[in-house]
């Protein structure tokens, strides 16, 4: 590395170490920029793809109250995707490229959305566990070193807590209902628990990005720390519902002051990451289809805007309103 580059990097790291925020036009190492684009766009794609499993239940929500809440949550997810795409775009990549990467399968999104939503209880489990896990991660990211990403996270966290509460309320209602309803809630927890734990990513020893991301303060906590924090917060909530967490090894450890838990099935994790989860193909197809079928709308809106602007310019050159002004 040439000395000038080295000096710039040292200066950059000193700013990070002093907890200064990095803003879009500041100098940053290429690798920092690349890491952020990868992480923020993955995060944005997750918000957008995350609408699909929930969209599956909008027409079958059991009451109007549940339906408007679910619709509002899904609309929030679209908004969150947009805040994040906006943050990624400040790094010099455009929206179209980001979407192309998603549609080509080159960019990842959270594997959790490659699992199917089979019952109404899944709307509860997704809000409680999936949004709950996301919140753990996102609260940490409100303090990330890149300014636009941190600001997007602040907005998202404010909105996210309604998501988790509405999910928990769905499960609470089911758990206080008939035996069959409680069973539906338990079945849902059984299917979502482990995938939710996998949302924090590979364990620290196997994570390729964690160390550098911690040094750049993009991340402030490791995957394993966040996962433990999530388990500690969530198990008592499961107890309150009267549901059993599907992990026979789960046990409070007085010495560690944390729950001990069983081994995650990392083979399953990597298999889904590689594209072989239950819904990978379906999710991506749905995104590509929506994008392609919406193309004419985007083009028509642009053509309309251009035509209007052109007319406006013509009027400016040859103002037809002149007579009125004179009168």
């Amino acid at each position: 590395m040439d000395p000038k580059q080295k000096a710039l990097e040292a200066q950059f790291q000193a700013r990070i170490d002093a907890d200064e925020k990095i803003e879009p036009k500041d100098w940053m190492p290429d690798a920092y920029r690349k890491t952020l684009i990868r992480q923020i766009s993955q995060h944005a794609h997750s918000e957008v793809v995350g609408m699909l499993p929930e969209g599956n239940w909008v027409t079958r929500a059991p009451s109007l109250r549940r339906k408007v809440a679910l619709l509002a949550k899904i609309q929030d997810e679209a908004g969150h995707g947009l805040y994040l795409y906006g943050a990624a775009e400040t790094l010099g990549i455009d929206r179209e490229t980001l979407l192309e990467e998603l549609h080509a399968g080159a960019a990842k999104y959270s594997s959790i959305f490659n699992y199917p939503s089979l019952s109404w209880a899944d709307m509860g489990a997704i809000g409680w566990l999936v949004d709950g896990a996301a919140i753990m991660n996102q609260v940490m990211l409100t303090r990330t070193s890149y300014g636009p990403y941190a600001r997007a996270m602040v907005r998202i966290c404010k909105e996210e807590s309604f998501h988790q509460r509405q999910g928990y309320e769905i499960l609470l209602t089911l758990c206080r209902g008939t035996e069959a309803q409680k069973q539906m809630a338990q079945d849902s927890l059984n299917r979502w628990w482990w995938p939710a734990l996998m949302m924090f990513g590979p364990s620290d020893g196997a994570s390729t990005h964690t160390e550098q991301s911690m040094r750049w303060r993009i991340k402030r906590k490791t995957n394993d720390e966040l996962r433990q924090q999530f388990i500690d917060a969530t198990v008592p909530q499961a107890d309150y519902l009267g549901l059993t967490v599907p992990d026979p090894a789960l046990k409070w450890n007085d010495e560690r002051d944390h729950y001990d838990f069983g081994e995650i099935d990392w083979a399953e994790f990597w298999n889904v990451v590689k594209g072989n989860g239950p819904c990978n193909r379906e999710r991506l197809q749905a995104r590509v289809k929506a994008h392609e079928q919406g193309a004419w709308v985007r083009e028509a809106a642009m053509a309309y805007a251009e035509k209007r602007q052109q007319r406006q310019e013509e009027r400016n050159i040859n103002p037809r309103g002149l007579k009125n002004l004179a009168g």
């Binding site: 803003e23 036009k25 500041d26 100098w27 509002a72 609309q75 929030d76 908004g79 947009l82 805040y83 906006g86 775009e89 400040t90 455009d94 929206r95 179209e96 600001r151 997007a152 907005r155 909105e159 193309a295 985007r298 083009e299 809106a301 642009m302 309309y304 805007a305 209007r308 602007q309």
Partner: protein, 96 residues
């Protein structure tokens, strides 16, 4: 259609209530100003966060360069006499 034109990027500024100034909220894509306002309403004021919206196409914003921040703001660094604490007043003159 191959030579498609993408919707331009807009910056959004929101006044959260009268008496406060508009503050940068984020950005979005829209075909024109009208759509930018509507999208901004849907994206940035879903929970009554605003009473007024400004949108401006991002390409019209000129920003100062962070590389030159030191020299740009340098003139303000040595003018302590612009601050009230520069002036010594006796204690008897109470609040001024």
């Amino acid at each position: 259609m191959t030579d498609k034109k993408n919707w331009p990027l807009w910056e959004v500024f929101i006044r959260s209530k009268n008496g406060l100034s508009h503050k940068h909220a984020g950005s979005l894509h829209a075909a024109d100003a009208e759509m930018a306002i509507e999208n901004a309403r849907d994206v940035y004021t879903r929970r009554s966060e605003g009473v007024s919206i400004w949108v401006v196409e991002s390409r019209y914003i000129t920003a100062s360069s962070p590389n030159q921040a030191a020299s740009l703001f340098d003139p303000a660094d040595d003018k302590v006499y612009r601050h009230p604490t520069f002036y010594n007043l006796p204690d008897e003159v109470k609040h001024m």
